[in-house]
Amino acid sequence: MATVQSDRLFGKSIKRREDPRFVTGRGTYVDDVKLPGTTYAAFVRSPHAHARIRTIDTAEAKRHPGVVAVFTGADMTGVNSLPCGWDLRQSKNIPGVVQDLAMVPHMPLTSDVARHVGDPVAVVIADSRDAATDAAEKVKVDWEVLPSVTATDKATAPGAARVHDAAPDNIAFKWELGGGDVDGAFKKADVVVKKRIVNQRLVANAMEPRACLARFDEATGELTLWVTSQNPHVHRLLMCAFVLGIPEHKVRVIAPDVGGGFGSKIFLYNEEVVCSWATRQLKRPVRWTSTRREAYLTDAHGRDHVTDAELALAKDGTMLGLRVKTTANLGAYLSTFAPAVPTFLYGTLLNGVYQIGAINCQVTGVFTNTTAVDAYRGAGRPEACYVLERIVEAGARALKMDVAEIRKKNFIPKFSGAFQTLVAVSYDSGDYGAALDKLLQMFDYKKFRAEQEAARKQGRLLGIGFSTYIEACSIAPSKVVGALGAGAGLYESGKVRVHPTGMVSVYTGSHSHGQGHETTFAQLVADELQIPIEQVEIIHGDTGQIPFGMGTYGSRSASVGGTAILMSINKIKEKGKRIAAHLLEASPKDIDYVNGSFQVKGVPDKAVPFGAVSLTAYVPHNYPDGLEPGLEETSFYDPSNFCFPFGAHACVVEVERDTGAVKLLRYLAVDDVGNVINPMIVDGMVHGGIAQGIGQALWEGAVYDVQSGQLMTGTMSDYALPKADLLPMYETGRTVTPTPVNPLGIKGAGETGTIAATPCVVNAVVDALAGLGVDHIEAMPLTTERVWQTIQAATAKR
C-alpha cells in the first residue's frame, strides 16, 4: 500500500498533471483524432450580410472528383431549428419581461434567407479536405441581395432592414429590472452624471478553432461526435432532443483536449449538427475543422452593448440612484444562451460592490445582420462592471472626489450570509474594502499620485485607473435559473469509482479546456481520501463515461463540480466505514477515517487501510446481509445560490501626447475568489483574464462595415489580439473570504480578470487625459487613433 498523504494538497501550487502531454505535443485535440474512411466537410457560406436565396445549383460541385455528397437545407428534412435554451416570455412568468422574446428559427443550413456573412447554406462532403474546399467553390447560389443592418444603435431605427419577419423593428425582447425609488433619487441628487458607454463586440479567439468529427456506426446504431465543447452533455441533449430527434442513449459526445473556450465552445453550432446528420446519411465519418476566417464569421461573438447610464450622487459622494438603458445586439440568430447574457447575467450585477439607493435597468435585445452574440468570458458581468466602474469614476470627477475615496464611501460593509441587492440577487459574502485596501498598499497609491503630478508638470500624461468589481459565478442554482427562463438546471455531477486495488477514478461533468481539472480535482480527492495523488485519475469530457454534466462556464467547475465530487467521496467514506466495521467486527458508527485508514475510534491498532477496504468491496466473500458489493458513488450537486467573487484592480498607463499611443506601465490585481485549491492555477487564470480585459480596452473589436455588412476584422491580421510585447508582468494579490454557499468555500476564479481589467484600463487613460479636460471616452478599443482624436477634440475645445 502506498504511503499516507501527510500534508493537505488543497491550497498548494503543485505542478499540473496534464502538462507533460501538452509540452511534448501529445495532447489529443479534435482535429488530431483520425478515423479510417473519413470524409471532409466544407461549408458554402453567404458572402452577403443579408440576401434571399433564389436557387442553389449543386450539380457541378457534385461532379467534382472526390465529392461524396452535397447537401442544402432542403435535403435536411425532419431536422429542427437550433434551440435557444433561455426563454424570456411573460406567459412563463419570467420576471422583468416587458416584451416577449421572439423565438426566431435558426436552421443548420438556411434555405430561405442568409442573415449574416458566413451563414451556411450548403455543405460539400468529399474524400479529402482539398476536394471539399474546391468543390464548395463550384456550388452556385443565386442571391438576391437585401439591405442589411449591423450597428447596435441603428437596429430599431425606422426603415432599418428587417432581419426576421417574426421580430418587427428587430426587437428580440424588452426587459426591465430594478428596485428603490429611482425617480426620487434623481430628484434629490446634488449631481447627476450621464454618459453613453459602448461595450464593443468581441471575438473569443480560443487558439484552437472549433472542430468536429462525427461517426455513425450502422452495426450498433451508435453515433459518436468528437467536438470542441465546454459541455459535451449539453451538446448531446440539445442535438438529440431538439434538433435531430435521435435517441440520446445512442449518441456519445466526446470533448477531448480542447484548446480554450472562453464561452465560445458552450453553444451548439450549425456545423456540428450538419456533420452529425450527414454521417448518418453517408455511413462514413464526417470531419469539419474551422479555419480561423470561419471562426471569426461563425463562433458566437461577445458583448456589443450600447448603454446610456445615469448616476445620481449627493455632494458627499453617496450613490443615490442608477439608471441604465442598454441596447444589446444579439446578432442574426438566438444562440444557445443569448437572451440570458444581457439580462440575468447583466442587470443583476448592476448593484456592484456598492450601496446604491435605487436602480433601474432597461434592456432591449435586438437582431442585426451579424454573427450571433452569446456568452464570452464573463458574459454580462463584464458589461455591468464596465458601466458601473466607468460611471462611478465619472461621478468622482464631477464631484472632484478621489476615485478610491468615492468607492470606499459607498462599499457595502463586510458581511457573510446574505446581502440583498436591488437587482434580484443576494450576495453570499464580501469584504470589499479589504480588497481595495490591500490593493492600495501594494500600489503605494499616495506616492503614485505625487509622481503623476510631477510628470504632468513635465508634460507627460500618466494615468491611474481602478475597478472594484463583483461577479456572479458558480453557476447556478437550478431553482433560480429555472424561474428566470433557463431550459435546464445548472447542477453538476461527480462520480467516484474506487477500484479493487485502491485506485480511484473520478468522473466529472465539468470540462477542462485549460483550467487544469486533472490537477485541482485530484488535489481535492487525494486530500479527502488521504491517499497519494498518483492513485487518483480525473476523467472528463465524455458522455459515454460520465453520468451527466452541465460543463464548464461561469466559473463553476471547482465550486459546483468540486462539491459534487466531495459529496461522492463522503458517500464512499460512509460505505467504507460499513465495510471496515464488518472487517473489524465493530459498529459502523464507531469507525473513523484517519490517515487513509478506517479505524475504531480511539483505537489506532484496530484499523484497516483504504486499499484493504477497496479490495474487500469487490471480494465480498463473507459480507453481512444488506451490504452491497462494489465501491462507487454518484452525486449531483445543485448550489443553493450563486457565489460572488470580488476584488480591486488598478493600473498605470502613459499616453503619448503627440500620437495618442497608450502604454501600460503597471497592472495590479487583488482578487477574492474564496478558498483556492491551487494558487498557481488561479493566478494563471487571473493573468489570462486580465490580458483579455486589457485587449478589449486597448486593441480588440469586431467591426462591421455599415454599408455592406461585411466583417472588417475577419482574420488575425485585422482583429488585434494581445501580444507578449504589449503587456506587463501582472502584480497579483488575494484576500480570502470563503463562500458559505458550498462546503469547499470556493467562489470561482475563471472570469475575474476579464471583468475587472477593461474598465480599469479605460479609467486610467481617461485619468491620463483629465488634465486636458477629458472626462469620458465613449467607445473602445482605445487605439492610438481614437486616443489621438480624443486629445485633438479636447485641445480644440480649450
Binding site: 509540452v23 482539398d130 487558439m207
Partner: protein, 159 residues
C-alpha cells in the same frame, strides 16, 4: 498532380508524393501523422505551427511541403531526448506556462529560437521575440517566466 518530397523529421526520413499546394504543416499533421504541430489561423499570425527547420524556428504554414526537400525538421515531438524533457519544456511545466496547451508546441519552439539567439535574454527581449506567437490563456506572464527558467537552467547546465 503529385510531386515527390523527401525530408528528415525528428531524425526519421520521410518520403511521400504530395500535391504541390500541400502546406508543410498539413504534411506534418496529416501525411506524417505528427499532430503536436497545431493550426490556429490561416494568416501566419498565431505561431501554433512553429517548428524548427535546419536549426531555425519557422511557421510551418508558410512553406509548401515540396519546398522542404532535404530539410531537417524538428517538431515538438522530437524535442525531448531519451525521455528527458528539454529545459524549455520543463520550464513551461515548472512555471505554468500553459493552460489549454494548444499554442504550447509553437511557443516552446519559438522559445528555443529566442534562447538560441540570446541565451540570457531580458524580459523585454523575450516579449519582443514572442510577438509572432499568440496565446489566449496565460496573458504571457508565465510564458515569459518559463523561458527565463529555461534560460537559467540551460546556462547552469553549460557551466
Amino acid at each position: 498532380m503529385k510531386l515527390p518530397v523527401k525530408m528528415t523529421i525528428n531524425g526519421q526520413t520521410q518520403s511521400h508524393e504530395v500535391e504541390p499546394r500541400l502546406l508543410l504543416v498539413h504534411y506534418i499533421r496529416e501525411v506524417v501523422g505528427l499532430t503536436g504541430t497545431h493550426v490556429g489561423c490561416d494568416t501566419s499570425q498565431c505561431g501554433a505551427c512553429t517548428i524548427l527547420m535546419n536549426g531555425v524556428a519557422v511557421k510551418s504554414c508558410t512553406f509548401f511541403a515540396v519546398q522542404c526537400e532535404d530539410a531537417k525538421i524538428t517538431t515538438i515531438e522530437g524535442l525531448a531526448k531519451d525521455g528527458e524533457l528539454h529545459p524549455i519544456q520543463q520550464g513551461f511545466w515548472e512555471k505554468h506556462g500553459l493552460q489549454c496547451g494548444f499554442c504550447t508546441p509553437g511557443m516552446i519552439l519559438a522559445a528555443w529560437q529566442i534562447l538560441d539567439r540570446t541565451p540570457s535574454p531580458t524580459e523585454e527581449q523575450i516579449r519582443h521575440q514572442l510577438e509572432g506567437n499568440l496565446c489566449r490563456c496565460t496573458g504571457y506572464h508565465n510564458i515569459v517566466k518559463a523561458i527565463q527558467w529555461a534560460a537559467e537552467n540551460m546556462a547552469t547546465a553549460k557551466k
